[in-house]
């Protein structure tokens, strides 16, 4: 049975925790709005880019002269997994769900006798995968210092990935990130970026191409990789804030429940102490 003073301290500390989680939730809500805005702003570019490339790819894709970024190296031996997570924790299952998806995929590939290389973006994912997959790590991108994700960040990652591809370090690259659905739901997604794959039907409008279709495609594909990485970074950023918001909302609610419970316990103990004292006085008086 804890003493009254202990209970009081306990209630005080839980109240402080609630204040912190509440503040974190509000910060996450503000950041979420910004992250969502950024994702929406970036959409037109990604959509046009994708549509144009899909159109070009359907025309050029089958020919033997297709660029390597589109046609691939012709092998399927070495896989690069780009695992994007957050730099910070306290966001529920956000980081674990990506790490889990990446781990399952990595183990699947390893079981099939493929070589796996892992590039981590964000330190939380790195920490989680370090335990069993650290021998497959080939690089890490640290975005701790980045306040607001810009296209330059995506370009940096894309340049690194493309340099590795040119050096024949891998055959297939897959992005792992959380697609933002809503505040309470983020979907861990694996998306193959090299060789390029396009969703949706190719618009078959007849265009004149200047210079040739191949030249444009060669120019666009590296940009396409950067755009896809940028989109993933933004989706991931919005997802992270969403996940943190709901995690902190839960924490705030739990702290509230706990305070209620402790307060009841505190009041009961106080009452019991008073009653005990009264009984002692009365029985003392009766004894006389």
């Amino acid at each position: 049975m804890p003493s009254l003073k202990d209970l009081k301290n306990r209630i005080g500390s839980v109240k402080n925790t609630r204040k912190i989680t509440k503040a974190m939730q509000m910060v996450a809500a503000a950041k979420l709005r910004r992250a969502q805005d950024a994702a929406v702003q970036a959409r037109p570019y990604a959509e046009r880019m994708n549509a144009v490339m899909a159109g070009l790819a359907s025309g050029v894709g089958q020919s033997s002269s297709a660029p390597r970024l589109l046609a691939g190296t012709g092998r399927d031996q070495v896989h690069l997994l780009i695992v994007m997570t957050a730099e910070r924790g306290l966001c529920g299952g956000f980081n674990s769900s990506i790490a889990r998806l990446a781990r399952v995929k990595a183990n699947e590939l390893l079981a099939a006798g493929k070589t796996v290389k892992i590039l981590t973006v964000g330190k939380k994912g790195r920490e989680q995968l370090k335990r069993d997959l650290s021998q497959h790590f080939v690089g890490h991108v640290d975005l701790t210092e980045v306040k607001r994700i810009g296209y330059a960040n995506a370009q940096g990652i894309a340049r690194d990935v493309l340099a590795r591809f040119d050096a024949n370090e891998f055959d297939v690259a897959t992005l792992f990130y959380n697609r933002f659905q809503s505040v309470i739901s983020q979907i861990p997604t694996a998306q193959q970026i090299i060789p390029a794959k396009f969703e949706g039907d190719a618009s078959t409008a007849l265009y004149d191409y200047e210079p040739s279709e191949e030249a444009i495609l060669t120019d666009l594909l590296p940009r396409g990789v950067a755009t896809q990485i940028f989109t993933a970074l933004l989706e991931n950023g919005a997802s992270e804030q969403g996940a943190r918001m709901s995690a902190m909302d839960n924490a705030t609610r739990n702290a509230g429940d706990m305070i209620n419970k402790l307060t009841i316990q505190y009041n009961r103990s106080r009452q019991a102490a008073i009653t005990k004292e009264l009984i002692e006085i009365i029985s003392g008086a009766e004894a006389l």
Partner: protein
């Protein structure tokens, strides 16, 4: 007759107006798109992109990207686009450095030199 002109960068939409004509610094030479232009997709070299609309002419410095022209619209996708009036010597310096940096990675020496020269020409053209 006007065309719908959209200028988008990866981070946001920079312009979306009804324009009567759009002058594009195409990779193989400048071209002007007006209503009814044949559908064309062209890559761009570093240069100055101009959109003429009812509100006047807006000029942007672009460092590359591509333009999709249809009979009714022009969408320009540029990685970097800066309105000419916002260009400062320091900004131009950083744009030139950026282009040079990107070009240094390419294997095609002639193409890389041309891109850098184009960027320098832009700098001269706007007088900085």
């Amino acid at each position: 007759m006007a065309v719908q002109f959209d200028l988008v960068s990866p981070e946001r939409r920079l312009a979306s107006v009804q324009a009567t004509e759009v002058q594009i610094p195409g990779a193989e030479g400048d071209l002007t798109a007006m209503a009814g232009h044949a559908p064309t997709i062209t890559t761009m070299r570093p240069g100055i992109l101009k959109a003429v609309s009812a509100e006047g002419t807006k000029a942007y410095i672009v460092t590359g990207g591509f333009a999709e022209i249809t009979a009714t619209g022009v969408s320009v996708l540029a990685e970097r686009a800066v309105p000419v009036e916002e260009a400062t010597p320091a900004l131009m310096e950083s744009l030139v450095a950026e282009v040079r940096d990107a070009a240094s990675g390419s294997e095609d020496k002639d193409a890389a030199d041309k891109v850098v020269a184009d960027m320098m020409a832009v700098r001269t053209a706007i007088g900085q």
